[in-house]
C-alpha cells in the first residue's frame, strides 16, 4: 500500500478529528495497534512470531537471573500462559525479558522471585529428586496443581501459593501489555476518534439480552 493510501485508510479507520492539533506521526504510531486488533487473528501471525523469536532472543543475557534461574523461569512462565490457537506464549511475548527489567527496578520483586524459584526447585527435589526443569511434564503439573489454586491448596504449600500468585500476576502484566497480548485481547482504544458514538448497537443488544 502506498504511503498516501495507507494514511487515507488510517484516517478513515480512526476518523481523526478535523483540525486536531497533533503531529500525524503521533496518531499513526498510536493507531498501529488498532489495525492489528481489528485484523482477523491468523495462524500465520503466531507462526511469524514463533519464527522470529528464537533468533531475536538468543542474544539476550539476563541481568537479574542466573543461567539456571533463567531456564527455570522461561519454562515456568509458559506453563502460566502457553501458546494457543489465538496467540503466542509468555516467552513469545517477551515476558522473561520484561521480568528481568522489572527485577532490576523493584527490589521487592527480586526477593519474592528469587525465593520462589528456589522454592520450586526444592519442592520438586523433595517430591521427585530433581529440579523443576528436569522433571517430566506430569511431575511439573503435580507441583503446579498444588500451588495454583489458593483456596484448595494445603496449608504447608503457602510459600509456593504466594509465589505463584505473584508470578501469575507478573506474567499476566507482561503478557497482556505486550504487542502479542494487546492484539489477542482486541484492545482497540487509546486512539483518537472524531466522535464518541457511545456503546455500539450490537453491544447494547448484547447488554439487553435476556
Amino acid at each position: 500500500m502506498s504511503e498516501m493510501n495507507r494514511r487515507d485508510a488510517l484516517q478513515q479507520l480512526l476518523a481523526v478529528p478535523a483540525g486536531m492539533m497533533i503531529a500525524p506521526e503521533v496518531v499513526e504510531r498510536a493507531a498501529a495497534h488498532v489495525e492489528a486488533a481489528l485484523a482477523p487473528v491468523a495462524a500465520e501471525a503466531s507462526a511469524e512470531t514463533q519464527a522470529a523469536q528464537p533468533a531475536a532472543r538468543a542474544a539476550y543475557s539476563p541481568k537479574q537471573f542466573t543461567t539456571d534461574e533463567w531456564r527455570l523461569l522461561r519454562v515456568l512462565v509458559d506453563y502460566v500462559i502457553p501458546r494457543d490457537a489465538r496467540s503466542g506464549s509468555a516467552t513469545d511475548a517477551g515476558v522473561p525479558e520484561f521480568m528481568d527489567f522489572m527485577l532490576g527496578e523493584y527490589a521487592s520483586m527480586r526477593t519474592w522471585m528469587k525465593n520462589g524459584l528456589g522454592w520450586m526447585n526444592a519442592e520438586c527435589r523433595a517430591r521427585f529428586g530433581r529440579g523443576f526443569v528436569s522433571c517430566t511434564d506430569a511431575q511439573r503439573r503435580v507441583v503446579l496443581d498444588a500451588i495454583a489454586y489458593p483456596k484448595k491448596a494445603a496449608p504447608e504449600m503457602k510459600p509456593g501459593v504466594d509465589f505463584f500468585n505473584n508470578l501469575r500476576n507478573l506474567t499476566a502484566s507482561g503478557f497482556w501489555s505486550s504487542r502479542v497480548g494487546v492484539r489477542d485481547l482486541g484492545y482497540s482504544g487509546n486512539v483518537p476518534v472524531g466522535k464518541w458514538e457511545g456503546t455500539p448497537p450490537q453491544v447494547m443488544a448484547w447488554l439487553k439480552r435476556a
Partner: protein, 565 residues
Amino acid sequence: MTQSRSTTYDVAIVGSGAGGGMAAYQLTKAGAKVVMLEAGSWWDNADPRYSAMLKMPYDSPRRGASTPDRPFGEWDACIGGWTIPGEPYTKAEGTKFDWWRGRMLGGRTNHWGRISLRFGPDDFRRKTLDGMGDDWPISYDDIKPWYDEVDRLIGIFGSLENLPNDPDGIFHPAPAPRYYEHLVKDTCDRMKVTCIPARLSVITKPLNGRSPCHYCGQCNRGCMTNSNFSSPNVLIFPAMKTGNLTLITDAMAREVFTGPDGRATGVAYVDKKTGEDREVQARIVVLAASALESARLLLNSRSSRHPNGLANASGVVGRYITDTTGTDVAGFIPRLVDVPRHNADGVGGGHIYMPWWLDNRKLDFPRGYHIEVWGGLGMPSYGFMGGIQSYPEGGGYGADLKQQYRTYWGATVGFSGRGEMIPNDKSFVEIDPAVKDRFGIPVLRVHWEWRDSEYLQVKHMQETFRAIIAEMGGEVWSAMPTKEQGYGIANGGAIIHELGGVRMGRSDRASALNANCQAWDCDNLFVADGGPFVSQADKNPTWTILALSMRTSDHIIRQRRAGAL
C-alpha cells in the same frame, strides 16, 4: 529568567495549580505585572517530550508501572507524590494521613480526575441547616457568576438536571455512557439512586482555540490537544502571552516578608537549582501553594507584627482542615462476562456519576457523598487483572487461565464514595518544632481524626455499593469492613482534597480571611487555593477553587482601580 533585585511586581503568586493559574490569568489580563513562583519544574502537556498521550504499554519496558516520582504510573502527568525526597512532613502519634504534593508547573491540575462540581446553595450554609461546622461568609448566589465564567473559559461537559444542591452549569454535551455504565444506570434507576451524566472539565466542542476531546481515555497523561483542563495550557500560557507574567520555576517559597507596617512586601524563596536564597518583591501577595502548603507558609512567616505567623491573629491558621472521605468496593458482574470487544475508552474518567440523593435527616450521619463508577475495557498495562485467583475458577495456569483473562476482562465494576467531612478540633496542622526540610524550612506536623459523622457515612457507602452490585447480579469478594477497620475509610489526605487551614469567615476572631479571601490582619495578602474553604461539601473542590480565585482576583483588580491596595 533573571530580574533585577529592585523589580517590584504588582502581584506575587505562590503556586501554579488551579488557584495560582487562575489568579495569574485574571490579573495579567487586567494588566497587572505578575511574578509566579512554582516549586517544581517546567511542564507543557502539548509537547510530546512531556506528555505520554497515545503511547502503548509496550512502548516502555516498565509497561506503565509506577516510579518514585510518579506513584500513579510512569506516564501519569503529575510529578510529585506521597513522599518527596528531602521534603518530609511529620504526623502526630496515632495520626494516619497521606499528603500528595505536586512539584511541577500546574501542580495537581496535572493529576486530577477533572470531576468539576459546583458546590450547591446548602453547601455554603451547613451550620444554619444542621448546626454543625460553619457557614461560609458568601452564598451560592455570591459565587455563581464566577462559576459561570469558569465554565465559559475552561469548559465542562454535563447535563441539565435541575437538582436542588447540585447546580447546573454552562455545559458542553456529555458523552454517552459506556456499556457497564448503562448497566449501572439502569440498576440505580430501579433502586432510586440518582445517576446522571458526569461533569468533567473536558471539552466536547471547540473552545477558545482548543480542540474537542478525541476520546483516547488518557487525560491523566497530559492532553497534547489541551482538550481538558490543566493549569499550564489553559491559564498560565495565555497569561504569559500577555507579556505580564514572569514565571520562576524550581522556586521553593520559604516565607512571606512583611514591612514595619505589617503589610506584605514580597516572598522569600530558595532557588532549588543553586540552593541560593532569593526574594521577589510585590505590592500584593497571593498564596496558592495548596491548602496545607499555604498554611505552612503563613505559620513560617513570623515577625514582630505577626508573632503567630501571618494572617494568624485569630490563631485559626492550620485549623479546620478537612479531606474528602472515601472508600471503594469492586464487584464481579457475571452478566458482563465475555463482553463483545469494542473501544470503550471514552474520556479519561467516568461518563456517569451519582450525586448525593438522600436526606440526612433520615440517616444516622449528617452529610452526604457522591459516587464515582469505574470498570470497562481499559488499556492493558502493568497490573492487568491482578488477583485472577479471586475469579470463579480460583486461579490455575495454562490454556484455561489464559482464557479466563480474556473472558473476565471488562466484567468488574467498581464504586468509589466521596463524601463530606465536618471539620473537627483534632484535625489540624502546625509547625513541627524540630524538623526542617532540605531547604531548612520548618515542616508541618499533621494531626488527624475521623469522627462518627465520617465513619457512619463510609459504612453507608459500603452497604450501598454492595447493594448496587448485588442488584446487578454481581459478587463482592472482599468482606464488609468492620467498625474496627473504620468501615474501610481511606486515610486522611488519601483522596487528595485537603481543604481549609486558612479559612475565610465573617469575623476576624474566627477566621484568617474575609469574604474576599483577603487576610484580616494583612490587607495586601490573599489566599487563592483550597485554604479559604469553610466546608468540604460532597463535591470535588477544584471548580470552587477556580471560581473563588477568579472572584478574589476580580476583587484585587477592583480595589487597585479604586486606588486601594
